[in-house]
């Protein structure tokens, strides 16, 4: 049984830092993230402003810390809704098979034909920018990998003898599906979900950068990077530190997901 590997530990530490920032940004941030300071416009990192300030004199450290809450919310919702929808679809498709499976296969082909981001942008463009519409768009597109994973795992589990034993014992179908197959089939899906949150943060930031996600003046890492893009040659810190935050949060989720996969794989 592998213990806490250094990689998993690092992942958990990074994730813990993001969670802490999201939980109590007011305690950690030295300034109000929306407060203008006209005495320090686009100021370079200093003792007063460790990450510098933007063109309106807003403190980058404070904005980066406050953004953690929004980005974590994006990561969570961009994972949870596809997980629930895709998991349910995969469970039913894997169990019933037949023509339902055939229809599912064609639908999946249709969705994966387009790049993920392009489809999401398409949906957001139709629905209008904003975080709620981002969640709807991601739920419409992002369920596919979850459903595929769940279906494959259900196909394996439904062949197993313990499922046959349940049927011989006369257990009702919902009991077999939810109490026996689902707990055994959801492990790879849950591991994928943690790793997927890293991608969700990137996605949320990308959409924020493009102006389709969180709207200014909300502090969100993608929005912060977009804020600084016109000043990158003169005040690179405006974009740099939120970018570092994205990278660290992404690494945190990835390492934690990998570590969890290793931990869970052994017990099987």
């Amino acid at each position: 049984m592998p213990r806490l590997t250094p990689a998993l530990l690092l992942g958990l530490v990074l994730l813990g830092a993001v969670l802490l920032a999201a939980a109590v940004p007011d305690w950690l941030a030295p300034y109000d993230p929306l407060a203008f300071d006209f005495t320090a416009l686009s100021a370079a990192p200093s003792a007063a402003h460790p990450f510098g300030t933007d063109q309106f004199g807003r403190d980058i450290l404070s904005r980066t810390l406050h953004a953690a809450r929004i980005d974590l919310q994006i990561a969570l919702f961009c994972m949870v809704f596809p997980l629930l929808i895709g998991g349910l679809i995969g469970l039913l498709v894997g169990w019933y098979g037949g023509w339902i499976d055939a229809v599912f296969g064609r639908l999946v082909d249709l969705v994966v034909t387009f790049p993920f981001l392009v489809l999401v942008i398409f949906f957001v463009a139709v629905l209008g920018p904003g975080l709620v519409n981002v969640y709807i768009a991601v739920a419409c597109v992002g369920w596919v990998p979850y459903a595929k994973l769940m279906r494959a795992e259900v196909l394996v589990q439904r062949q197993s003898d313990y499922v046959a034993a349940g049927r011989v014992l006369g257990y009702a179908m919902p009991r077999i599906l939810l109490r026996h197959i689902l707990p055994n089939a959801c492990r790879p899906v849950l591991v994928y979900a943690v790793t997927d949150m890293a991608l969700a943060i990137l996605l949320g930031s990308s959409l924020g950068y493009l102006g389709l996600g969180a709207q200014p003046p909300t502090a969100e890492w993608g929005v912060l990077i977009a804020d600084g893009k016109n000043f990158f040659t003169t005040a690179p810190w405006i974009s740099l530190f939120p970018g570092v935050a994205i990278v660290l949060a992404g690494i945190g989720f990835s390492l934690t997901g990998d570590g969890l996969a290793d931990l869970l794989a052994v017990k099987k």
């Binding site: 197993s160 003898d161 313990y162 046959a164 034993a165 349940g166 049927r167 011989v168 014992l169 006369g170 257990y171 009991r175 109490r179 026996h180 707990p183 055994n184 017990k267 099987k268």
Partner: protein
């Protein structure tokens, strides 16, 4: 004696692979005939053995008997009622009375449920005992299969193959069945553990008055455990008789060949005879007439033309061989050299 469980002309076909090009060329979809007209009866209190090579349809028959497969033709009747027509509480009642023990002790238990939880679930779903009495009944069941009481809180991966098979038996016993269909319950186990499980099944049969359908490819186990034996070949029963008599004077050439193939424990008596010529034909394309005729040493031209029915044919138990009368004459050589367990 009225039969508890009967099958009549049971047929089970599984579709084979059929690609798009086959479809366009008009090639008909290949069909595996796992069961092809199986009729047999399971009598109360007996142990019925079902033997045959891999791929002869033994497991398919077992799964039809417990209602896991719905046969394409024919019927499985429990106490006279076709189980395919059972719905709701009647079907629950059937499942309560006909249970199964599986071949693979590693796959037949839910790895995420403790042993106690697995047993308790069966007890609760069928309301065998009031909820308050469930923990005590779980202990009784574990005791009955000779597992320690502490096993209830442990998980399947903490047990050996033989212990898991005991758990599987305890789970089948939880609902107080009349019949247990055991599908190769010991073939995945070490020989020493096999004996323990076989003895346990025998002990339970005596103490609980169970009816046992024991599916195996091990003739020694059949002889040790069963009252009657059905010999299967390519989805059909070729011989069905009292175990003692079949072992003493098998009537079907295939049964005779199987008995010759049993390894002897006495080194000097090691047989150099080839038990059966050739390979088991593909069930996708079974030979015409008697499916055994290409491998049979006594085949006559009519064997390739007529499918022999399972009938008495002037003997004491039914056999599916056109040459059965002639076969009796040869069987005396086998009677002297039957193996001991």
């Amino acid at each position: 004696m009225t039969a508890l469980l009967t099958t009549t002309d049971l047929a089970m076909r599984f579709p084979g692979r059929h690609g798009l090009t086959d479809l366009l060329r008009g090639i008909p979809r290949p069909v595996v005939r796992a069961l092809d007209g199986v009729s047999l009866d399971v009598r109360p209190g007996e142990t019925l053995g079902i033997v045959g090579e891999s791929g002869c349809g033994k497991s398919t028959l077992a799964r039809c008997l417990v209602g896991l497969h719905r046969p394409n033709a024919g019927a499985v009747r429990y106490q006279g009622t076709d189980i395919a027509t059972l719905r709701g509480s009647a079907r629950q009642a059937f499942h309560r009375q006909v249970q199964m023990v599986f071949q693979d002790p590693y796959g037949s238990l839910n790895p995420l449920m403790s042993v106690g939880a697995s047993l308790a679930e069966a007890l609760a779903v069928h309301r065998i005992v009031p909820p308050a009495d469930i923990p005590r009944r779980v202990q009784d069941l574990l005791d009955r299969v000779h597992l320690p009481a502490t096993a209830a809180n442990r998980y399947p991966h903490e047990f050996s193959g033989g212990q898991r098979q005991r758990i599987g038996i305890a789970r089948a016993l939880a609902v107080e069945p009349k019949i247990i269909v055991a599908d190769e319950p010991v073939s995945a186990l070490d020989v020493s553990v096999q004996a323990q499980i076989v003895n346990l099944l025998q002990e339970l049969q005596t103490s609980l008055g169970l009816t046992l359908v024991f599916i195996t490819h091990d003739l020694r186990l059949v002889r040790h455990l069963t009252h009657r034996v059905a010999v299967m070949y390519l989805g059909r029963i070729v011989e069905l008789g009292p175990t003692e008599d079949v072992f003493a004077s098998a009537r079907h050439p295939y049964t005779q060949a199987l008995l010759r193939a049993v390894p002897r424990l006495v080194p000097g008596q090691r047989s150099r005879d080839v038990a059966v010529r050739g390979e088991l034909p593909s069930p996708l394309a079974p030979p015409p007439g008697c499916a055994f005729h290409p491998r049979c040493q006594r085949a006559e031209p009519d064997c390739a033309a007529t499918v022999p029915a399972l009938a008495l044919r002037e003997g004491h138990w039914p056999v599916a061989c056109l040459q059965a009368d002639r076969a009796i004459a040869h069987s005396s050589t086998i009677a002297t050299s039957t193996p001991s367990v």
